[in-house]
Protein backbone atom coordinates (compact mmCIF):
# COMPACT_ATOMS: atom_id res chain seq x y z
CA UNK A 1 0.00 0.00 0.00
CA UNK A 2 2.81 2.38 0.91
CA UNK A 3 4.62 1.58 -2.32
CA UNK A 4 1.90 3.39 -4.29
CA UNK A 5 2.85 6.88 -3.10
CA UNK A 6 3.44 8.94 -6.23
CA UNK A 7 4.79 12.00 -4.44
CA UNK A 8 8.12 13.02 -5.86
CA UNK A 9 8.05 10.21 -8.37
CA UNK A 10 10.29 10.64 -11.37
CA UNK A 11 10.38 8.64 -14.60
CA UNK A 12 13.87 8.98 -16.08
CA UNK A 13 13.95 9.49 -19.83
CA UNK A 14 15.73 11.31 -22.62
CA UNK A 15 13.01 13.30 -24.36
CA UNK A 16 13.02 17.00 -25.17
CA UNK A 17 10.87 17.60 -22.08
CA UNK A 18 13.35 15.74 -19.86
CA UNK A 19 16.24 17.73 -21.28
CA UNK A 20 14.71 21.16 -20.63
CA UNK A 21 16.28 23.12 -17.80
CA UNK A 22 14.31 22.66 -14.54
CA UNK A 23 13.97 26.45 -14.27
CA UNK A 24 12.34 26.58 -17.69
CA UNK A 25 9.94 23.83 -16.70
CA UNK A 26 9.03 25.55 -13.43
CA UNK A 27 8.28 28.81 -15.26
CA UNK A 28 6.34 26.95 -17.96
CA UNK A 29 4.18 25.21 -15.36
CA UNK A 30 3.49 28.58 -13.77
CA UNK A 31 2.51 30.07 -17.15
CA UNK A 32 0.42 26.99 -17.87
CA UNK A 33 -1.54 27.33 -14.63
CA UNK A 34 -2.24 31.02 -15.25
CA UNK A 35 -3.27 30.22 -18.83
CA UNK A 36 -5.54 27.41 -17.66
CA UNK A 37 -7.43 29.80 -15.41
CA UNK A 38 -7.97 32.16 -18.36
CA UNK A 39 -10.08 29.52 -20.10
CA UNK A 40 -13.77 30.42 -19.84
CA UNK A 41 -15.23 28.86 -22.96
CA UNK A 42 -15.14 25.61 -24.89
CA UNK A 43 -12.52 26.87 -27.35
CA UNK A 44 -10.26 27.88 -24.48
CA UNK A 45 -10.53 24.51 -22.76
CA UNK A 46 -10.02 22.79 -26.08
CA UNK A 47 -6.77 24.67 -26.67
CA UNK A 48 -5.41 23.90 -23.18
CA UNK A 49 -6.35 20.22 -23.52
CA UNK A 50 -4.61 20.03 -26.87
CA UNK A 51 -1.45 21.68 -25.50
CA UNK A 52 -1.42 19.31 -22.52
CA UNK A 53 -1.85 16.28 -24.78
CA UNK A 54 0.99 17.51 -26.99
CA UNK A 55 3.30 17.86 -23.96
CA UNK A 56 2.37 14.36 -22.81
CA UNK A 57 3.19 12.97 -26.24
CA UNK A 58 6.54 14.79 -26.31
CA UNK A 59 7.52 13.54 -22.85
CA UNK A 60 6.53 9.89 -23.48
CA UNK A 61 4.62 9.82 -20.17
CA UNK A 62 2.00 7.10 -20.29
CA UNK A 63 -1.62 8.23 -19.64
CA UNK A 64 -2.08 5.43 -17.05
CA UNK A 65 0.62 7.06 -14.89
CA UNK A 66 -1.35 10.30 -14.94
CA UNK A 67 -4.56 8.43 -14.06
CA UNK A 68 -2.78 6.72 -11.17
CA UNK A 69 -1.85 10.11 -9.80
CA UNK A 70 -5.40 11.41 -10.30
CA UNK A 71 -6.98 8.62 -8.28
CA UNK A 72 -6.57 10.22 -4.84
CA UNK A 73 -8.25 13.37 -6.23
CA UNK A 74 -11.31 11.50 -7.50
CA UNK A 75 -13.48 12.39 -4.51
CA UNK A 76 -12.82 16.13 -4.85
CA UNK A 77 -13.40 16.01 -8.60
CA UNK A 78 -16.76 14.25 -8.24
CA UNK A 79 -17.87 16.53 -5.41
CA UNK A 80 -17.06 19.71 -7.34
CA UNK A 81 -18.84 18.37 -10.39
CA UNK A 82 -22.00 17.50 -8.44
CA UNK A 83 -22.12 20.82 -6.59
CA UNK A 84 -21.73 22.78 -9.80
CA UNK A 85 -24.38 20.72 -11.54
CA UNK A 86 -27.02 21.40 -8.89
CA UNK A 87 -26.17 24.89 -7.74
CA UNK A 88 -26.06 26.73 -11.04
CA UNK A 89 -29.10 28.75 -12.09
CA UNK A 90 -30.47 28.17 -15.57
CA UNK A 91 -32.73 25.96 -17.68
CA UNK A 92 -33.62 22.78 -15.83
CA UNK A 93 -32.87 19.53 -17.65
CA UNK A 94 -35.76 17.70 -16.01
CA UNK A 95 -38.47 20.05 -14.72
CA UNK A 96 -38.64 20.05 -10.91
CA UNK A 97 -35.02 18.89 -10.50
CA UNK A 98 -32.36 21.42 -9.61
CA UNK A 99 -30.12 20.17 -12.40
CA UNK A 100 -29.49 22.69 -15.16
CA UNK A 101 -27.90 22.65 -18.63
CA UNK A 102 -25.68 25.51 -17.53
CA UNK A 103 -24.70 23.52 -14.45
CA UNK A 104 -23.83 20.47 -16.54
CA UNK A 105 -21.60 22.54 -18.83
CA UNK A 106 -19.95 24.14 -15.84
CA UNK A 107 -19.24 20.82 -14.12
CA UNK A 108 -17.60 19.43 -17.24
CA UNK A 109 -15.42 22.53 -17.41
CA UNK A 110 -14.58 22.22 -13.69
CA UNK A 111 -13.56 18.59 -14.09
CA UNK A 112 -11.41 19.57 -17.06
CA UNK A 113 -9.83 22.38 -15.09
CA UNK A 114 -8.86 20.18 -12.12
CA UNK A 115 -7.66 17.30 -14.29
CA UNK A 116 -5.58 19.59 -16.50
CA UNK A 117 -4.15 21.37 -13.48
CA UNK A 118 -2.95 18.11 -11.94
CA UNK A 119 -1.74 16.72 -15.25
CA UNK A 120 0.37 19.81 -15.87
CA UNK A 121 2.11 19.61 -12.51
CA UNK A 122 2.61 15.86 -12.89
CA UNK A 123 4.34 16.45 -16.20
CA UNK A 124 6.83 18.58 -14.29
CA UNK A 125 7.57 16.12 -11.46
CA UNK A 126 7.50 13.04 -13.70
CA UNK A 127 10.13 14.45 -16.06
CA UNK A 128 12.42 16.27 -13.61
CA UNK A 129 14.62 14.58 -11.02
CA UNK A 130 13.98 15.86 -7.48
CA UNK A 131 17.54 17.19 -7.21
CA UNK A 132 17.22 19.14 -10.47
CA UNK A 133 13.86 20.44 -9.30
CA UNK A 134 15.17 21.74 -5.98
CA UNK A 135 18.27 23.18 -7.71
CA UNK A 136 16.04 24.99 -10.20
CA UNK A 137 13.79 26.25 -7.44
CA UNK A 138 16.75 27.56 -5.45
CA UNK A 139 18.10 29.45 -8.46
CA UNK A 140 14.69 30.89 -9.34
CA UNK A 141 14.06 32.05 -5.78
CA UNK A 142 17.60 33.42 -5.42
CA UNK A 143 16.50 37.09 -5.60
CA UNK A 144 14.45 36.51 -2.43
CA UNK A 145 17.72 36.00 -0.51
CA UNK A 146 18.09 39.80 -0.59
CA UNK A 147 14.90 39.95 1.51
CA UNK A 148 16.52 37.54 4.02
CA UNK A 149 14.31 34.64 2.94
CA UNK A 150 16.26 31.42 3.77
CA UNK A 151 16.01 30.04 0.23
CA UNK A 152 18.96 27.66 0.44
CA UNK A 153 17.79 26.21 3.76
CA UNK A 154 14.28 25.68 2.39
CA UNK A 155 15.47 23.89 -0.73
CA UNK A 156 17.97 21.68 1.12
CA UNK A 157 15.17 20.69 3.51
CA UNK A 158 13.02 19.81 0.52
CA UNK A 159 15.69 17.64 -1.07
CA UNK A 160 16.45 15.90 2.24
CA UNK A 161 12.75 15.18 2.72
CA UNK A 162 12.56 13.68 -0.77
CA UNK A 163 15.74 11.66 -0.13
CA UNK A 164 14.29 10.13 3.04
CA UNK A 165 10.82 9.25 1.71
CA UNK A 166 11.87 5.75 0.54
CA UNK A 167 13.92 5.15 3.71
CA UNK A 168 11.02 6.08 5.97
CA UNK A 169 8.53 4.07 3.92
CA UNK A 170 10.78 1.03 4.30
CA UNK A 171 10.98 1.68 8.02
CA UNK A 172 7.19 2.01 8.34
CA UNK A 173 6.77 -1.33 6.58
CA UNK A 174 9.22 -2.90 9.03
CA UNK A 175 7.48 -1.48 12.10
CA UNK A 176 4.08 -2.56 10.76
CA UNK A 177 5.33 -6.09 10.24
CA UNK A 178 6.81 -6.12 13.72
CA UNK A 179 3.49 -4.98 15.23
CA UNK A 180 1.53 -7.46 13.12
CA UNK A 181 3.80 -10.25 14.34
CA UNK A 182 2.76 -9.28 17.86
CA UNK A 183 -0.92 -9.50 16.91
CA UNK A 184 -1.72 -5.91 15.99
CA UNK A 185 -4.69 -5.47 13.66
CA UNK A 186 -4.70 -2.60 11.19
CA UNK A 187 -7.35 -3.72 8.73
CA UNK A 188 -10.56 -4.34 10.68
CA UNK A 189 -12.62 -2.35 13.17
CA UNK A 190 -14.24 1.05 13.02
CA UNK A 191 -12.39 4.10 11.79
CA UNK A 192 -11.53 5.29 15.32
CA UNK A 193 -10.20 1.85 16.22
CA UNK A 194 -8.07 1.71 13.13
CA UNK A 195 -6.74 5.19 13.79
CA UNK A 196 -5.81 4.13 17.33
CA UNK A 197 -4.02 1.08 15.96
CA UNK A 198 -1.75 3.39 13.99
CA UNK A 199 -0.37 5.00 17.14
CA UNK A 200 2.10 2.18 17.92
CA UNK A 201 3.48 2.73 14.41
CA UNK A 202 3.78 6.49 14.56
CA UNK A 203 5.59 6.67 17.89
CA UNK A 204 8.58 4.45 16.96
CA UNK A 205 8.64 6.03 13.49
CA UNK A 206 8.98 9.52 14.96
CA UNK A 207 11.61 8.44 17.47
CA UNK A 208 13.70 6.85 14.75
CA UNK A 209 13.21 9.81 12.40
CA UNK A 210 14.64 12.12 15.06
CA UNK A 211 17.59 9.80 15.65
CA UNK A 212 18.22 9.67 11.91
CA UNK A 213 18.05 13.45 11.66
CA UNK A 214 20.60 13.77 14.43
CA UNK A 215 23.03 11.35 12.79
CA UNK A 216 22.49 12.97 9.41
CA UNK A 217 23.33 16.39 10.84
CA UNK A 218 26.62 15.11 12.27
CA UNK A 219 27.45 13.36 8.99
CA UNK A 220 26.70 16.54 7.00
CA UNK A 221 28.87 18.65 9.28
CA UNK A 222 31.66 16.11 8.98
CA UNK A 223 31.51 16.63 5.23
CA UNK A 224 32.07 20.35 5.73
CA UNK A 225 28.46 21.44 5.23
CA UNK A 226 28.16 25.02 6.42
CA UNK A 227 25.09 26.43 4.71
CA UNK A 228 24.73 27.78 1.19
CA UNK A 229 27.54 30.33 1.38
CA UNK A 230 30.49 29.60 -0.89
CA UNK A 231 28.92 26.40 -2.17
CA UNK A 232 29.55 25.30 -5.74
CA UNK A 233 27.74 22.69 -7.82
CA UNK A 234 28.85 19.71 -9.82
CA UNK A 235 26.07 20.10 -12.37
CA UNK A 236 25.78 23.70 -13.47
CA UNK A 237 22.41 24.60 -14.97
CA UNK A 238 22.60 26.50 -18.24
CA UNK A 239 19.77 27.78 -20.39
CA UNK A 240 20.09 26.42 -23.94
CA UNK A 241 18.40 27.59 -27.13
CA UNK A 242 15.63 25.03 -26.62
CA UNK A 243 14.87 26.58 -23.23
CA UNK A 244 14.42 30.04 -24.76
CA UNK A 245 12.22 28.62 -27.53
CA UNK A 246 10.10 26.79 -24.95
CA UNK A 247 9.75 29.95 -22.85
CA UNK A 248 8.70 32.05 -25.87
CA UNK A 249 6.12 29.39 -26.80
CA UNK A 250 4.86 29.41 -23.22
CA UNK A 251 4.38 33.18 -23.21
CA UNK A 252 2.63 33.04 -26.61
CA UNK A 253 0.33 30.35 -25.26
CA UNK A 254 -0.60 32.51 -22.28
CA UNK A 255 -1.15 35.57 -24.53
CA UNK A 256 -3.39 33.51 -26.79
CA UNK A 257 -5.45 32.36 -23.83
CA UNK A 258 -5.91 35.95 -22.64
CA UNK A 259 -7.14 36.94 -26.10
CA UNK A 260 -9.60 34.03 -26.12
CA UNK A 261 -10.87 35.12 -22.72
CA UNK A 262 -11.62 38.61 -24.14
CA UNK A 263 -13.93 37.05 -26.67
CA UNK A 264 -15.34 34.63 -24.04
CA UNK A 265 -14.65 31.69 -26.28
Amino acid sequence: MLKDITLGQFFPGDTIVHRLDPRTKLILVFLYIVALFQANGWVGYGVVTAVTALCMLLSHIKPQNIFKGLKPMLFIIVLTALLNMFYTEGREIIPGWHMTWEGLARSVQMILRIVLLITGTFLLTYTTSPIALTDGLELLLNPLKKLKVPVHEMTIMMSMALRFIPTLIEETDKIMSAQKARGADFETGRLTERAKALLPILVPLFVSAFRRADELAVAMESRCYHGGEGRTRMKVLRLETRDWIALVLGVLFLAGMIVLRRFAL
Binding site: I131, V218, Y225, T232
Partner: protein, 277 residues
Protein backbone atom coordinates in the same frame (compact mmCIF):
# COMPACT_ATOMS: atom_id res chain seq x y z
CA UNK B 1 55.65 11.95 12.35
CA UNK B 2 52.28 11.62 14.02
CA UNK B 3 49.33 13.23 12.24
CA UNK B 4 46.87 12.82 15.11
CA UNK B 5 47.94 13.10 18.70
CA UNK B 6 45.84 12.85 21.85
CA UNK B 7 47.36 14.37 24.98
CA UNK B 8 45.72 13.47 28.30
CA UNK B 9 42.23 13.78 26.84
CA UNK B 10 39.32 13.69 29.26
CA UNK B 11 35.72 13.82 28.10
CA UNK B 12 32.34 13.40 29.81
CA UNK B 13 29.09 13.57 27.83
CA UNK B 14 26.77 16.32 29.12
CA UNK B 15 24.45 14.82 31.72
CA UNK B 16 26.63 11.74 32.25
CA UNK B 17 28.38 11.02 35.54
CA UNK B 18 30.99 8.63 34.24
CA UNK B 19 33.85 9.86 32.12
CA UNK B 20 33.83 8.43 28.60
CA UNK B 21 37.50 9.16 28.02
CA UNK B 22 39.73 9.15 31.09
CA UNK B 23 43.08 10.59 30.15
CA UNK B 24 43.78 9.18 26.71
CA UNK B 25 47.26 9.49 25.16
CA UNK B 26 47.60 8.29 21.59
CA UNK B 27 49.83 8.96 18.61
CA UNK B 28 48.79 8.04 15.07
CA UNK B 29 51.50 8.14 12.41
CA UNK B 30 50.89 9.59 8.97
CA UNK B 31 50.07 6.95 6.36
CA UNK B 32 49.46 4.18 8.88
CA UNK B 33 46.47 1.87 9.32
CA UNK B 34 45.31 1.96 12.92
CA UNK B 35 42.51 -0.25 14.26
CA UNK B 36 40.71 0.55 17.51
CA UNK B 37 39.07 -2.38 19.23
CA UNK B 38 36.86 -2.47 22.30
CA UNK B 39 33.49 -3.72 23.49
CA UNK B 40 30.36 -1.52 23.58
CA UNK B 41 30.70 1.52 25.80
CA UNK B 42 34.49 1.36 25.89
CA UNK B 43 34.78 4.90 24.50
CA UNK B 44 35.97 4.00 21.02
CA UNK B 45 33.26 6.02 19.22
CA UNK B 46 33.92 8.96 21.54
CA UNK B 47 37.58 8.68 20.57
CA UNK B 48 36.62 8.78 16.88
CA UNK B 49 34.43 11.86 17.33
CA UNK B 50 37.39 13.72 18.82
CA UNK B 51 39.33 13.18 15.62
CA UNK B 52 37.32 15.69 13.56
CA UNK B 53 36.24 18.09 16.25
CA UNK B 54 32.63 16.85 16.54
CA UNK B 55 33.58 16.57 20.21
CA UNK B 56 36.16 18.78 21.92
CA UNK B 57 37.96 17.47 25.02
CA UNK B 58 36.98 18.76 28.48
CA UNK B 59 40.65 18.83 29.36
CA UNK B 60 43.75 17.81 27.47
CA UNK B 61 44.27 18.39 23.78
CA UNK B 62 43.76 16.73 20.40
CA UNK B 63 46.11 17.90 17.65
CA UNK B 64 45.26 17.01 14.07
CA UNK B 65 47.89 17.77 11.44
CA UNK B 66 49.26 20.52 13.65
CA UNK B 67 45.86 22.09 14.46
CA UNK B 68 44.32 21.88 17.91
CA UNK B 69 40.63 20.92 17.90
CA UNK B 70 40.09 23.62 20.52
CA UNK B 71 40.62 26.30 17.90
CA UNK B 72 37.03 26.92 16.79
CA UNK B 73 38.04 29.03 13.79
CA UNK B 74 39.93 26.05 12.41
CA UNK B 75 37.18 23.42 12.82
CA UNK B 76 36.52 23.60 9.09
CA UNK B 77 40.22 23.07 8.33
CA UNK B 78 40.23 19.97 10.53
CA UNK B 79 37.11 18.55 8.90
CA UNK B 80 38.49 18.86 5.38
CA UNK B 81 41.55 16.92 6.50
CA UNK B 82 39.64 14.18 8.32
CA UNK B 83 36.88 12.29 6.51
CA UNK B 84 34.41 10.41 8.71
CA UNK B 85 32.38 7.35 7.79
CA UNK B 86 29.66 6.31 10.22
CA UNK B 87 27.91 3.12 11.18
CA UNK B 88 24.54 3.54 9.49
CA UNK B 89 24.94 4.05 5.75
CA UNK B 90 21.33 5.26 5.36
CA UNK B 91 21.83 8.19 7.71
CA UNK B 92 24.89 9.65 6.03
CA UNK B 93 23.89 9.67 2.37
CA UNK B 94 22.31 13.02 1.53
CA UNK B 95 21.24 12.77 -2.12
CA UNK B 96 18.89 10.65 -4.24
CA UNK B 97 21.61 9.79 -6.74
CA UNK B 98 24.97 8.20 -5.94
CA UNK B 99 27.12 10.73 -7.83
CA UNK B 100 25.27 13.71 -6.35
CA UNK B 101 25.95 12.33 -2.91
CA UNK B 102 29.66 11.92 -3.60
CA UNK B 103 29.71 15.51 -4.89
CA UNK B 104 28.26 16.85 -1.64
CA UNK B 105 31.54 17.43 0.23
CA UNK B 106 33.47 19.07 -2.65
CA UNK B 107 30.40 21.26 -3.34
CA UNK B 108 30.52 22.40 0.28
CA UNK B 109 34.21 23.17 -0.08
CA UNK B 110 33.51 25.42 -3.07
CA UNK B 111 35.52 23.36 -5.56
CA UNK B 112 34.98 24.45 -9.23
CA UNK B 113 32.38 22.35 -11.11
CA UNK B 114 34.71 20.69 -13.60
CA UNK B 115 37.05 19.58 -10.85
CA UNK B 116 34.17 18.19 -8.78
CA UNK B 117 33.23 16.03 -11.76
CA UNK B 118 36.74 14.53 -12.02
CA UNK B 119 37.00 14.08 -8.24
CA UNK B 120 33.65 12.30 -8.10
CA UNK B 121 34.48 9.94 -10.98
CA UNK B 122 37.88 9.21 -9.49
CA UNK B 123 36.47 8.55 -6.00
CA UNK B 124 33.76 6.24 -7.35
CA UNK B 125 36.35 4.28 -9.36
CA UNK B 126 38.55 3.87 -6.31
CA UNK B 127 35.79 2.19 -4.34
CA UNK B 128 34.56 0.23 -7.36
CA UNK B 129 31.15 1.91 -7.57
CA UNK B 130 31.57 3.84 -10.83
CA UNK B 131 29.00 1.72 -12.70
CA UNK B 132 26.42 2.62 -10.05
CA UNK B 133 26.91 6.40 -10.28
CA UNK B 134 23.37 7.13 -11.48
CA UNK B 135 21.61 4.68 -9.13
CA UNK B 136 19.45 5.64 -6.18
CA UNK B 137 21.29 4.85 -2.92
CA UNK B 138 18.31 3.16 -1.28
CA UNK B 139 18.40 0.42 -3.91
CA UNK B 140 22.02 -0.58 -3.14
CA UNK B 141 23.21 -3.25 -0.71
CA UNK B 142 24.65 -2.28 2.68
CA UNK B 143 28.25 -2.84 1.59
CA UNK B 144 27.71 -0.81 -1.57
CA UNK B 145 26.10 2.06 0.35
CA UNK B 146 29.03 2.11 2.74
CA UNK B 147 31.47 2.20 -0.20
CA UNK B 148 29.53 5.17 -1.61
CA UNK B 149 29.90 6.84 1.80
CA UNK B 150 33.66 6.20 1.62
CA UNK B 151 33.75 7.68 -1.90
CA UNK B 152 31.91 10.73 -0.57
CA UNK B 153 34.73 11.19 1.91
CA UNK B 154 37.55 10.53 -0.59
CA UNK B 155 36.13 13.19 -2.92
CA UNK B 156 36.96 15.68 -0.18
CA UNK B 157 40.63 14.59 -0.58
CA UNK B 158 41.34 14.25 3.13
CA UNK B 159 44.63 13.11 4.64
CA UNK B 160 42.89 10.90 7.16
CA UNK B 161 39.83 8.67 7.02
CA UNK B 162 38.18 7.71 10.29
CA UNK B 163 35.63 4.90 10.08
CA UNK B 164 33.37 4.52 13.12
CA UNK B 165 32.16 0.91 13.09
CA UNK B 166 31.47 1.02 9.35
CA UNK B 167 30.81 -2.73 9.20
CA UNK B 168 28.51 -3.13 12.20
CA UNK B 169 25.34 -3.31 10.08
CA UNK B 170 26.79 -5.30 7.19
CA UNK B 171 26.83 -8.97 6.25
CA UNK B 172 30.21 -10.77 5.97
CA UNK B 173 30.51 -9.99 2.25
CA UNK B 174 29.79 -6.29 2.80
CA UNK B 175 32.35 -6.23 5.64
CA UNK B 176 34.99 -7.72 3.37
CA UNK B 177 34.21 -5.12 0.63
CA UNK B 178 34.59 -2.21 3.05
CA UNK B 179 37.73 -3.42 4.82
CA UNK B 180 39.57 -4.30 1.61
CA UNK B 181 38.63 -0.89 0.16
CA UNK B 182 40.06 1.06 3.08
CA UNK B 183 43.15 -1.15 3.31
CA UNK B 184 43.85 -0.45 -0.36
CA UNK B 185 43.39 3.30 0.16
CA UNK B 186 45.94 3.22 2.96
CA UNK B 187 48.52 1.04 1.18
CA UNK B 188 48.23 2.52 -2.32
CA UNK B 189 47.22 6.14 -1.74
CA UNK B 190 49.11 6.63 1.51
CA UNK B 191 46.04 7.81 3.43
CA UNK B 192 45.99 7.49 7.18
CA UNK B 193 43.15 5.15 8.14
CA UNK B 194 41.62 4.79 11.59
CA UNK B 195 39.18 1.88 11.76
CA UNK B 196 36.95 1.55 14.81
CA UNK B 197 35.47 -1.91 15.05
CA UNK B 198 34.64 -4.88 17.23
CA UNK B 199 35.48 -7.52 14.66
CA UNK B 200 38.93 -9.04 15.28
CA UNK B 201 39.41 -10.23 11.71
CA UNK B 202 39.29 -6.66 10.43
CA UNK B 203 42.28 -5.68 12.57
CA UNK B 204 44.73 -8.30 11.33
CA UNK B 205 46.04 -6.13 8.51
CA UNK B 206 46.54 -3.03 10.69
CA UNK B 207 49.92 -1.49 11.51
CA UNK B 208 48.83 -0.68 15.00
CA UNK B 209 46.06 -2.02 17.19
CA UNK B 210 44.59 -0.04 20.07
CA UNK B 211 42.52 -1.84 22.70
CA UNK B 212 40.09 0.42 24.57
CA UNK B 213 38.26 -0.40 27.75
CA UNK B 214 36.10 1.81 30.02
CA UNK B 215 37.53 5.02 28.61
CA UNK B 216 41.15 3.96 28.94
CA UNK B 217 43.59 2.78 26.33
CA UNK B 218 44.34 -0.66 27.59
CA UNK B 219 46.99 -1.77 25.16
CA UNK B 220 48.71 -0.52 22.03
CA UNK B 221 50.84 -2.65 19.75
CA UNK B 222 50.99 -4.54 16.52
CA UNK B 223 48.18 -7.06 16.02
CA UNK B 224 50.71 -9.86 16.54
CA UNK B 225 51.78 -8.56 19.93
CA UNK B 226 48.26 -7.87 21.10
CA UNK B 227 46.58 -11.04 19.95
CA UNK B 228 49.31 -13.30 21.34
CA UNK B 229 48.50 -11.98 24.83
CA UNK B 230 45.47 -14.21 25.04
CA UNK B 231 44.96 -13.86 28.80
CA UNK B 232 44.71 -10.08 28.51
CA UNK B 233 42.23 -10.35 25.64
CA UNK B 234 40.12 -12.81 27.65
CA UNK B 235 40.12 -10.45 30.65
CA UNK B 236 38.85 -7.68 28.38
CA UNK B 237 36.08 -9.94 27.13
CA UNK B 238 37.41 -9.73 23.59
CA UNK B 239 37.65 -12.72 21.34
CA UNK B 240 40.88 -13.34 19.45
CA UNK B 241 40.98 -14.53 15.82
CA UNK B 242 40.33 -18.23 15.27
CA UNK B 243 43.92 -18.78 14.15
CA UNK B 244 45.35 -17.42 17.40
CA UNK B 245 42.89 -19.47 19.44
CA UNK B 246 43.95 -22.68 17.67
CA UNK B 247 47.65 -21.98 18.19
CA UNK B 248 47.04 -21.10 21.83
CA UNK B 249 45.24 -24.38 22.51
CA UNK B 250 48.03 -26.31 20.76
CA UNK B 251 50.62 -24.38 22.76
CA UNK B 252 48.88 -25.32 26.01
CA UNK B 253 48.95 -28.97 24.97
CA UNK B 254 52.73 -28.75 24.75
CA UNK B 255 53.25 -28.24 21.02
CA UNK B 256 55.99 -25.82 20.05
CA UNK B 257 54.01 -23.37 17.90
CA UNK B 258 54.43 -19.59 17.62
CA UNK B 259 51.44 -17.63 18.96
CA UNK B 260 51.67 -14.73 16.55
CA UNK B 261 50.83 -16.39 13.21
CA UNK B 262 47.63 -14.44 12.47
CA UNK B 263 47.03 -15.01 8.78
CA UNK B 264 45.49 -18.34 7.80
CA UNK B 265 48.50 -19.35 5.63
CA UNK B 266 50.99 -18.55 8.38
CA UNK B 267 48.90 -20.45 10.89
CA UNK B 268 48.65 -23.49 8.64
CA UNK B 269 52.42 -23.45 8.10
CA UNK B 270 53.02 -23.23 11.86
CA UNK B 271 50.72 -26.17 12.56
CA UNK B 272 52.30 -28.23 9.77
CA UNK B 273 55.75 -27.50 11.23
CA UNK B 274 54.65 -28.67 14.67
CA UNK B 275 53.13 -31.86 13.26
CA UNK B 276 56.36 -32.74 11.40
CA UNK B 277 58.35 -32.48 14.60
Amino acid sequence: MSIISFKQVHYTYPGDELESLCGVDLEIEEGSFVAVLGHNGSGKSTLAKHMNAILVPDSGEVIIDGISSRDEDKTFEIRRRVGMVFQNPDNQLVANVVEDDVAFAPENLGVPSAEIRTRVDEALRQVGMYEYRTHAPHLLSGGQKQRVAIAGVIAMQPKIIVLDEPTAMLDPQGREEVVSTVTRLCREKGMTVVLITHHMEECIGADKLVIMSNGYIHAVGTPREIFSDIEMMAREGLAVPETTKLLYELHNLGYAVPLDALEEDACAAAVAGAVKQ
